[in-house]
């Protein structure tokens, strides 16, 4: 039982780490996201771009829609209540992020009212907000607070946690400085993207605010690189976990076989040959390992399917899906563990003669 629990705990941890790695290094994508580009300051995401770049970008071949997209990073009452919030061009937002759904009337209300905002359903549910509620976001990054009225709820898309409000309102509060964090573009086609990337960056080369244009996926992955070589780190931890499991299970099997040396000798005496006994030992080892593997892997799947990781991680993980691939990897490790851990002790015991085996533990 303890061996099963040991394997289960190790594979639970392995499954969790692999899922975290996947969520960090393979950001969720959609068909619509494949057509989106992000234009940011070449030096750093913290640097801003002039809003006048938008009109020039919109005139470029291959651009269907373009919206300014500025991280506001405001706080709702308490810093622990983190959720992403952005200033955008209201009538372009859902033309760029086409996979999200919003009631047309709510969208219209959002567009018409400068202090309106739209919120993702997850954040609405998290705080128990309703349409028409007034909320204030305290500026942390910017020296202004925004007072907003919720006019729309959006569903679907990759992230249902964001809040979007008018960039005009933000500009007004900032004193019309015309600053933009990034521009998000919807391209006309996938084929247009490579040319569009180079065209945009060439257009603003040798200016005070040179640009770096990249696909949405590349942009998301650039955040992961801030964590350092997380793949190597998690890979190393996972290797240590698997190696430790092998040692523990092999040790347990070795003890179990040794304790049953007399029983194995009796089975030999009544006529079980080496191959049959090896099969029995292997079946036990395999069974223990798979029981632990199933408990750990499916336990992780069940837990993360029913727990709100977004809330627990305070938005760090939008979702935390244990995929069939990860489950299969975990179960295959358990299977391999069951086989490998019994090889040496089984071989050693099967080489023991019946007479010597009957003398064991006398």
């Amino acid at each position: 039982m303890l061996t099963v629990l040991s394997v289960a705990l190790s594979l639970f941890l392995f499954t969790t780490l692999q899922t975290a790695l996947r969520e960090l290094t393979q950001p969720a994508t959609s068909e619509a996201s494949a057509l989106r580009l992000v234009v940011r300051h070449k030096v750093s995401l913290a640097n801003v771009l002039p809003e006048k770049y938008q009109s020039r970008i919109e005139r470029m071949p291959g651009v269907m829609y373009c919206t300014p997209f500025t991280w506001f990073g405001g706080v709702y009452k308490d810093p622990q209540n983190f959720f992403p919030n952005f200033a955008v061009e209201a009538n372009k937002l859902f033309k760029v992020f086409t996979e999200s759904d919003i009631d047309p009337k709510q969208l219209d209300d959002f567009i018409k009212e400068k202090t309106a905002c739209v919120v993702g359903i997850k954040t609405m549910q998290r705080f128990g907000w309703k349409l028409g509620d007034k909320i204030t976001l305290l500026g942390e990054l910017w020296p202004v607070d925004v007072e907003l009225t919720i006019r729309g709820i959006y569903y679907g898309g990759i992230d249902e946690t964001n809040l979007f409000f008018h960039h005009d309102y933000f500009d007004e509060l900032m004193g019309k400085k015309g600053l933009v964090g990034t521009f998000w573009i919807r391209a006309t086609s996938a084929e247009a993207i490579p040319g569009l990337i180079s065209r945009i960056d060439r257009a603003f080369a040798n200016t005070d605010a040179e640009t770096k244009t990249e696909t949405e996926r590349a942009f998301q992955l650039s955040f992961v690189s801030m964590f350092g070589n997380i793949k190597t780190l998690i890979g190393s931890i996972s290797t240590v976990i698997v190696f430790t499991m092998i040692l523990v299970t092999a040790s347990t099997m070795s003890m179990a076989i040794r304790e049953r040396a007399r029983e194995i000798a009796v089975l030999k005496a009544v006529g079980f040959d080496g191959a049959q006994l090896f099969g029995l030992i292997l079946a036990e080892s395999f069974g223990l390992a798979m029981a632990g593997g199933a408990l750990g892997c499916f336990g992780a799947w069940a837990l993360f399917s029913n727990v709100d990781i977004y809330t627990l991680s305070r938005g760090f993980f939008i979702k935390f899906e244990v995929t069939p691939h990860i489950l299969t990897s975990g179960l295959m490790i358990a299977a391999g563990l069951g086989i490998v851990s019994c090889l040496v002790p089984a071989y050693a015991n099967l080489k023991t003669t019946v007479v010597d085996g009957l003398k064991e533990l006398d």
């Binding site: 009796v266 089975l267 005496a269 009544v270 006529g271 191959a275």
Partner: protein, 231 residues
């Protein structure tokens, strides 16, 4: 006289422990007839258990021949020998050696799992064996739920269930009280006299040896009278 069921010729067994060699059996020659009940007696270290182990095919001679029911057991490979034991030898050990997590029924059934008998046929054999030893009402009991004497009778049933050529017992009463020991020895005697089983018993107890039809004495690896006949 018909061919002996066990023919031992010039049998020698030497155990090597590094540079030290121990001669457990020294040029032993012995015949055992069909349906005999033979007791191998001798002090500790006389080689009686070693001789029994070689006859039963769980040890190999260093030199000489041991032919059981026409088969030179020393010439068989490991897998062949395992199969040979399953068909021809029934073991009864001093410490019973029942599998603790299996019921009496399952313990007795173990040797039959290696045969081609169906489940219902195996059941019939097991029930018959347990009835024979007087434990037909204890089939579902675990070893820990049985007395020492009952456990040994289950072990005898396990030894009998394949209808083996030989029934070998190595100090079967060593862990039993006098009453249980007498029951077990009487059972072995009954199996010999009424069922015609060839029984080879290793013991250091003259009272146990008295149940046998013939006693063979060993000392320091040699038969005392040199020709295997009752002294």
């Amino acid at each position: 006289m018909s061919q002996p069921i066990v023919q031992i010729r010039d049998l020698t067994k030497i155990y090597s422990h590094g540079e030290i060699e121990v001669v457990a059996l020294n040029h032993v020659t012995l015949d055992i007839q069909v349906a005999e009940f033979v007791a191998l007696m001798g002090p500790s270290g006389s080689g009686k258990s070693t001789l029994l182990h070689i006859i039963a095919g769980i040890d190999r001679p260093t030199d000489g021949a041991c032919v059981v029911h026409g088969t030179d057991v020393g010439s068989l490979g490991e897998t062949e020998l395992a199969g040979w034991r399953n068909h021809h030898v029934g073991f009864v050990f001093q410490t019973f050696n029942l599998i603790p997590v299996l019921t009496a029924f399952e313990n007795v059934e173990l040797p039959l799992l290696l045969t081609s008998l169906s489940a219902s046929e195996r059941r019939a054999h097991v029930e018959a064996a347990l009835e024979l030893v007087g434990l037909g009402d204890r089939m579902r009991h675990l070893p820990r739920q049985l007395s020492g004497g009952q456990e040994q009778r289950v072990a005898i049933a396990r030894a009998l269930v394949t209808d083996p050529t030989l029934l070998v017992a190595d100090e079967p009463t060593g862990n039993l009280d006098a009453h249980s020991a007498a029951e077990v020895l009487a059972l072995l005697q009954t199996l010999n006299r009424q069922a015609g089983k060839t029984v080879i018993l290793v013991t250091h107890d003259p009272k146990a040896a008295a149940y046998a039809g013939r006693t063979v004495h060993l000392e320091k690896g040699e038969l005392l009278n040199g020709n295997g006949q009752k002294p």
